[in-house]
Amino acid sequence: MSDQRFRHLKDIPSTHIFGSGTPACAGCGGLEVIHQLYEVLGEKTVFINAAGCMTLLSIYPFTPFRGSWLYTAMASAPAGAQGVRDALDILLEQGRIEPSENLTTVVLTGDGSAYGMGLSATSGAIERGLDFIYLCYDNEGYGNTGQQYSEATPHGAKTSTSTGPRGYPGYKKSIFDIWIAGHPAYAATVIGAEPLDLARKIDKAMQFKGPKMITALSPCPTGWGFDPKESVEIGELAVKTGVWPLKEYVDGKVIHTKVPRKRLPVEEYLKRQGRFAHLFNPSRHESTLNEIQQRIDRYWEQVE
């Protein structure tokens, strides 16, 4: 397995096969990831979608996808992928379709579904070794319904259902760890702000048969409270502060693909977003800020 196909940014295809003019918000980090993923995967794909922001990409009778699309429901997109994959395999086995008619099966889901309601179906698909790519765009809340907190919301964040002075009391869980406990063929974290890392990982995923699990932190101007033009910068800060570790799981091992040696203080990331403003104004919430920083430091101590 090698990363040879994409050595430099200019090696990444930029055919722009994903159509424009979708109803997604300007600066949507999730859309950025889909765009990049689609360049690498190409149009011989069928996207199986769970309810969320991206459900509105395909609105009758228009779609930005050149390939196929099936909307399912919030909880069962991986089961939809199972049905499509199994049916294609049966048709291929029986010679009822040509091999050239085959499609890559891709699940497209938000974090609310991936970390919560859809987890049972996801876990089942990993356990059965389903040959598919799973993309979770993680905007850390139920975006489509107005950014209520989800099981992926970070500690302290203000959401539509955590508006108090301390924000969200819970802690973001690691869906990556949950996935790899089931030993998928491949798992990775990515972010749109690191396109080369993302393209390499998608390319690598395509070389495996079985469940390929990818989660992308997806800066969301609407839900997180920042100017759409800062979306890429916020993504970069998530990596540079160590909030979002870029890593992959191959052959039973976790490898960090980018280790931020000199990590920026997490504040640099937090203070740029309206959802954390209450930690700074009217007065600094030292204990919460310290706690968030310590958790990040502890994570990277274990890595290094």
Binding site: T55, W69, L70, A79, G80, D86, S120, A121, R128
Partner: protein, 414 residues
């Protein structure tokens, strides 16, 4: 063709096998599990081609079933009761995909309280979802209905999933002599699966089940589904007569028993209708002009066929094995709406609720129902809906409560 003793579950599995189902997404639930175990056994031992996958839930199972059908293979699945309701979101969803497949439901009463025994609240909860519904009264009918259901589901004018319903325990676990058609004859009857224009192929990209903006496109698709369901009435007639020609068994959309000269009718679905037949025979011996009407097709609703049968009759007793809380029997209200304002319809439409959670309906109770109906016809007054329950049953419950109370308190009064 061979004739063997088979349970309703076995008959359902045979139906799937003879229809050459390619794909079986599954999930266990009593009293359905025997169906998927039978199919798993055949597939594992090479007696039946195909693939069976156990999903994590019925919600996922129905998603996978719809997705596979929308990709272009023949799909069979089965569930019951809590499972049907767990998958309810997806019943509506996949029917909207216009993905043709067959789902067997083995009826079982719904929690709470939890029970394993049958009534029809589960299947009637799925009444409005877009699946067509065929209701069976015998094990033979289960097998035959699965074959007919595939034809109906896949008919160009229909393209909707179909539920074949059988009653838990009374059919699912009861052995009856069943004729098993030859594989060849069955396969010739059902035909090869034609995906038509709903399928995913690299050369023909397509988007399925997309969002719509606003009520106009939404209504367009909902109306289309409704009209397709209505077209299934004609399609059913054609397919059922072809089935009769090939296999010699007649399964009309509405079964009638001794109705021709009848003045009064029992009206019910499912296997308890065979109990009503016994009562009809006994009442006929005593000189009553009574018969039985048993719709097999509930969606689409065969309103015109029912009106033709009921025209000129004096009274109908609808026996519902379901209960819409705060209203009453579902079949009764549907029948009333089909008859209202139409010429020469029976004046008396009496409602009886019975057979909930597998509770028997005895022949004596059928006599009582007939007597009540006759009295109503004479007086011209429709009786209040009746919940079938005997004094003796009530005494038994009270006795159990008393025993439990004594066990717990040592007999002290509160």
């Amino acid at each position: 063709m061979k004739r063997i003793l088979l349970t309703g579950n076995g008959a359902a599995a045979w139906g799937a096998r003879l229809a050459c189902a390619d794909y079986v997404p599954a999930f266990p639930i009593t009293p359905q599990t025997e169906i998927i175990e039978t199919l798993a056994d055949w597939i594992d031992n090479g007696e039946m081609p195909g693939r069976l996958v156990t999903l994590d839930s019925e919600h996922s199972m129905i998603t996978a079933a719809g997705a596979a059908a929308a990709t272009g293979v023949r799909v069979f699945s089965a569930t019951s009761s809590q499972g049907l309701l767990y998958g309810m979101e997806m019943l509506y969803t996949v029917a909207g995909w216009r993905a043709p497949f067959v789902l067997v439901n083995v009826s079982r009463g719904l929690a709470s309280p939890i029970t394993l025994e049958p009534d029809h609240n589960d299947i009637l909860a799925a009444r409005d979802c877009g699946f067509l519904q065929i209701h069976c009264a015998t094990c033979q009918e289960v097998l035959d209905s699965v074959l007919i259901a595939y034809r109906l589901s896949e008919a160009s004018s229909v393209r909707l999933p179909v539920i074949v319903n059988l009653d838990g325990f009374y059919l699912s676990f009861t052995r009856e002599p069943v004729q098993i058609p030859d594989l060849k004859a069955a396969a010739a009857f059902v035909g090869a699966f034609d995906a038509e224009d709903i399928r995913f192929r690299a050369s023909a990209p397509t988007s399925q089940a997309m969002a719509v903006l606003g009520g106009s496109p939404y209504s367009y698709f909902r109306y289309e589904t409704h009209l397709a369901a209505l077209q299934a009435l004609d399609a059913y007639e054609t397919i059922a007569s072809e089935f009769e020609e090939k296999f010699g068994r007649n399964h009309p959309a509405v079964e009638t028993y001794r109705c021709d000269d009848a003045e009064m009718l029992f009206f019910m679905i499912g296997c308890f209708a065979t109990k009503a037949k016994v009562a009809v025979d006994r009442l006929r011996e005593a000189g009553w002009k009574i018969g039985l009407v048993r719709p097999r097709l509930i969606r689409p609703y065969p309103a015109e066929a029912i009106r033709t049968i009921l025209r000129g009759k004096h009274g109908v007793a609808v026996i519902d094995q379901n209960l819409s809380m705060g209203f009453g029997g579902v079949l009764h209200s549907e029948l009333a709406s089909a008859l209202y304002g139409q010429p020469d319809m029976p004046h008396i439409l009496a409602s009886f609720i019975g057979g909930l959670g597998g509770r028997d309906i005895s022949t004596e109770e059928f006599f009582e129902i007939a007597t009540t109906l006759k009295r109503a016809i004479v007086s011209g007054e429709t009786p209040a809906p009746r919940l079938l329950y005997t004094e003796d049953e009530l005494k038994q419950i009270e006795k159990l409560q008393l025993i439990a109370h004594v066990e717990r308190t040592g007999g002290e009064r509160e």
